[in-house]
């Protein structure tokens, strides 16, 4: 669990421990040498999150471990948004692992933040997507959402005014816009799936995506 200034790392950690999974908070890459899976939680703004990740040396480390070595990675909430090239929240350049950008919900027509339990519809055959229940609600809190440029990266969609990408997955990189740790038993089950997905399965998924 990558622990930076404004993240909600603690509550995700409680969920992982509740599931009986071995997990701990890591504040710097030096503390994460023996880690084999990463979770990037997030509340707060994309620009603040990116600044915090850069300052602590996480951007290079994750590039090497996740992009280079293929360590499974799960982004949650803002942890999904920073995977894209750019976020309009604070005009932030982000990690750019997935093509696309992050935009704000249309204010005026909708109550913003989009807050509460909303349904997710599975849209890909990525192993993380197949772990989603056919019909279930997850807990969302977001004012911004991703617009992936590559449809193949969209693993689940949710309707709020229009459909938006609520789950993305490409190879070993997975992310949920909803708070997986606050989504009751269905969220915990999905979190558990992330922990159990095999590296081979994820490599196969990467090959299909390319």
């Amino acid at each position: 669990m990558i622990n930076y200034q404004t993240g909600n790392a603690q509550s995700v950690l409680f969920a992982l421990h509740h599931l009986g999974l071995e997990a701990r908070l890591v504040a710097t890459p030096e503390e994460a040498q023996d880690v084999d899976r990463f979770i990037l939680p997030g509340v707060g703004a994309a620009d603040v999150t990116m600044a915090s990740l850069r300052e602590r040396g996480w951007t290079e480390h994750l590039q090497e471990r996740v992009r280079g070595e293929g360590a499974p990675f799960l982004g949650v909430c803002v942890g999904l948004q920073v995977l894209f090239e750019h976020s309009r929240e604070g005009d932030a350049d982000c990690l750019g692992w997935l093509p696309g950008e992050v935009v704000e919900f249309r204010r005026g027509e909708l109550r913003v933040p989009h807050m509460g339990w909303n349904a997710v519809r599975r849209t890909s055959s990525h192993p993380f997507a197949t772990a989603l229940p056919a019909a279930a609600h997850f807990y969302f809190v977001n004012s911004y959402h991703a617009l992936p440029a590559d449809e193949a990266d969209v693993a689940g969609v949710t309707e709020y005014g229009a459909e938006f990408a609520s789950v993305v997955a490409r190879g070993n990189v997975m992310a949920t816009q909803f708070h997986i740790d606050k989504s009751g038993p269905v969220g915990l089950a999905l979190l558990s799936s992330f922990a159990e997905l095999g590296a081979d399965e994820l490599r196969a998924a990467a090959a299909t995506a390319c």
């Binding site: 404004t6 909600n8 603690q10 509550s11 409680f14 969920a15 509740h18 599931l19 509340v43 707060g44 703004a45 204010r107 005026g108 109550r111 913003v112 933040p113 989009h114 807050m115 509460g116 339990w117 909303n118 349904a119 229940p133 279930a136 609600h137 807990y139 969302f140 809190v141 977001n142 004012s143 309707e159 709020y160 708070h179 740790d181 606050k182 989504s183 009751g184 038993p185 269905v186 969220g187 915990l188 089950a189 558990s192």
Partner: protein, 269 residues
């Protein structure tokens, strides 16, 4: 589709849930972590707890209890009481809360909402307001006045104006708690709930007075995004208590409102 949210709320005093009637005359309900765990297992969408003696005792919310509750509950947890500055907010969030509710302190120091919103994001800051029907006047054009300190102290502030200002300051949600209806089990004050829901674009939470599933449905019809229930779930004072499932079934079947079915809340985890 975004569903209606049913929020269980309880007042905590020394790690125990306590139930008051119109802010007085408390009775003991049970251990806070245990009550929260039962509410979670019952399929509630969200949990709010107020440490009711933190503010008068000039101390932080009871972090041990926050931690104990957060360990057993995997739906959003909001904590209120005793939050005076950013340091307090960091402590409450680090103990496992998802959101922070501020009430009297927001009236004393409105900059607190903005500071919290900048630090943690708007979604983290819940502005809770205690409102009472006082009649329309120049100072209070909506006819509802904001009260603080356990509803004992009048502020002279208009409820609608304060709601709009709270949104501008950075609140991500606004709780409208009716002092008149609180503890009556006769239904929410729909007039002020509707007026606030129309006046702001952030989600509005109805609070105070729910006694039946029908009352909860009426709050949503009035424009609330979420409704706080407490006594009707567990108060030993009421002849009839309702389960979360009773409430949601009625919302869905009798009123056609979208709900997160409690079947999704029951599983091995």
């Amino acid at each position: 589709m975004l569903t209606t949210r049913v929020i269980a709320c309880f007042d905590v005093k020394g790690g125990r849930v306590t139930k008051a009637r119109r802010f007085q005359d408390n009775v003991d309900v049970g251990d806070a972590a245990e009550v929260a765990r039962l509410m979670y297992a019952d399929g509630v969408d969200e949990i709010v707890f107020y440490d009711i003696t933190a503010s008068p005792e000039r101390r932080r919310a009871d972090l041990e209890t926050v931690r104990a509750v957060a360990h057993n509950v995997f739906v959003p947890l909001t904590v209120g009481g005793g939050v005076r500055d950013l340091e307090d907010m960091h402590a409450v969030l680090a103990a496992g809360a998802e959101k922070i509710s501020i009430d009297s302190m927001a009236v004393r120091n409105p900059g607190l909402i903005t500071a919290g919103s900048k630090e943690f994001g708007r979604q983290c800051m819940v502005l809770s307001m205690q409102v009472q029907r006082v009649g329309v006047s120049t100072a209070v054009p909506s006819g509802y006045e904001v009260f603080i300190d356990g509803a004992r102290v009048a502020t002279g502030m208009d409820a609608l104006q304060w709601a709009r200002r709270g949104e501008e300051l950075g609140a991500g949600e606004i709780v409208v708690n009716s002092i008149d209806q609180d503890g009556t089990h006769a239904g929410y004050d729909l007039e002020i709930t509707r007026a606030v829901a129309d006046a702001v674009r952030v989600p509005v939470i109805a609070s105070g007075g729910a006694g039946t599933p029908e009352h909860v449905a009426h709050a949503f019809r009035a424009g609330a995004s979420a409704a706080i229930v407490s006594s009707m779930l567990y108060s030993p004072r009421l002849e009839q208590n309702y389960s979360v499932d009773d409430i949601k079934r009625s919302l869905s079947e009798d009123f056609g409102l979208p709900v997160r079915p409690t079947t999704e809340a029951a599983s091995a985890h």
